[in-house]
Subunit: 240 residues, 2 copies
DNA sequence: AAGGAAGAAAACATCGGATGATTGTGCGCA
DNA sequence: TGCGCACAATCATCCGATGTTTTCTTCCTT
């Protein structure tokens, strides 16, 4: 499919102008923009076209529009902006899922290593408490929730919110694969225990190795079963 | 700043409906949507509101609208969709820059390790050729270009296009920091040579260690000089 | 004096209708 | 067969209006 060059439309120009004002520091997080009619006049386009520009920037989490109040610059938090990629991940095909899983594995090894090197006693206790909840999970859903929480705690210990957000993003396909794979509780617990042991012992290599094993299980399963990820949901009522 | 819940507007609903049709597989990359007036009627909103929805999805690289032709589902390539985060990275403050650099370092170590483990002779030769160009760079710009290309080649050897895209994304702040830092050619060459040696010798640890050194230089500089990244550009003509 | 309710004002959300600009297709001619 | 032109299709933009939601102001009650 040939990619066409984006036109120099008035709406795109308005988007660029607002973005440039943010880049230059003239507009800052939390600032309120002029009302639509005025902003449109200042940027040189109609109010409807301005609304298209604003809507695009809302989609990118740059602006927030509140009816009855006004339009504001968002907090421009990269971790939140990453969430806009959720759809991209959700619709990725089997090969992309594998790529996302590889990225996930890279991140998980990294944070396991950091946790092993730098964790506090309180942080270790949080992991242990989570591990206890995992071992007592009474359903697949509860197991998946405790599993996810374990990984989120690890990411928080690493202390990079953008990385935490990125991990959550790339974990989407993992959750889908695991629903299909139906790994049992005893196996998940054993894998987490190995990661925990490495972290408790401040053994970076052991923690990383255990995490590699934990994530590679589902990655290898996906590589072997790509068609399982192709199952479409039933279409909604309004078809085109 | 308090985050307000996104309203259930007609435009947001239309966005969700189209996304759901894509998720379900009823709409696929390259498919052409009905003309605006018809699509608006089918989704139950006015044409202007539909255009807002389409514009938002264009911003997210989900749709492509061509005047005189029609509106199409894009190729939904995650690597391309990641580019929409460019703005988020560009406007990130000093702390976020540090987080992005940490992520960059994580990725660079990962790909250096993969390159050392799996490179072909042809791929090693590509890296060597790039290194020769770096050593002969006649300006700072030429040096930065060759440096960037070295990293891109590494990412390509790793064979994960999404990771390549992600690396390019998080490399933005690095380029800004390096323009300020003004590292000299001899030093960059020496650091690349160490990475290359590890890769040539298929020594994963050596390659990773050398890459850690290479990236940590700029990361540590940024940590020590956060104010250098706060310099705003001069504002454009149209101020608000 | 403080809190709640009601109404007005502010501002976005949506609609309908029209014209302008661009792209693709089909036809005619060299 | 290739190129140019005209036309149709469709997005891009604008204008004007009404609807809906949020915030602010005023008044009343405790």
């Amino acid at each position: 499919m040939e990619v066409r060059r984006m036109s120099n439309s008035k709406v795109d120009l308005a988007i660029s102008l607002v973005q440039e004002l943010i880049r230059s520091g003239e507009l800052r997080p939390g600032d309120r923009l002029p009302v639509e009619a005025e902003l449109a006049a200042q940027l040189g386009l109609s109010r409807n076209s301005l609304r298209e520009a604003v809507r695009a920037m809302q989609a990118m989490r740059i602006l927030e529009a509140r009816q009855g109040d006004g339009t504001y610059i968002s907090d421009l938090d990269p971790a939140r902006m990453i969430e806009t990629l959720r759809f991209a991940v959700d619709v990725s095909g089997p090969q992309a899922v594998i790529w996302f899983l590889e990225i996930r594995r890279m991140i998980e090894l990294h944070i396991a290593g950091i946790a092993a090197a730098k964790r506090s006693e309180a942080e270790l206790e949080r992991l242990n408490a989570c591990h206890r909840e995992l071992s007592q999970a009474a359903s697949f859903d509860a197991m998946m929730e405790a599993d996810t929480r374990f990984h989120v705690i690890l990411a928080e210990i690493a202390g990079n919110p953008i990385l935490t957000s990125l991990l959550e993003l790339v974990s989407g396909p993992t959750v889908r694969a695991r629903v299909w794979r139906q790994q049992d509780l005893a196996e998940v617990c054993a894998e987490h225990a190995q990661v925990l042991a490495g972290i408790a012992a401040r053994d970076v290599d052991a923690a990383k190795h255990a995490m590699w094993t934990h994530i590679s299980g589902v990655l290898n399963w996906v590589v072997a079963h790509p068609e399982e990820l192709e199952t479409p949901k039933s279409p909604p009522g309004s078809s085109i």
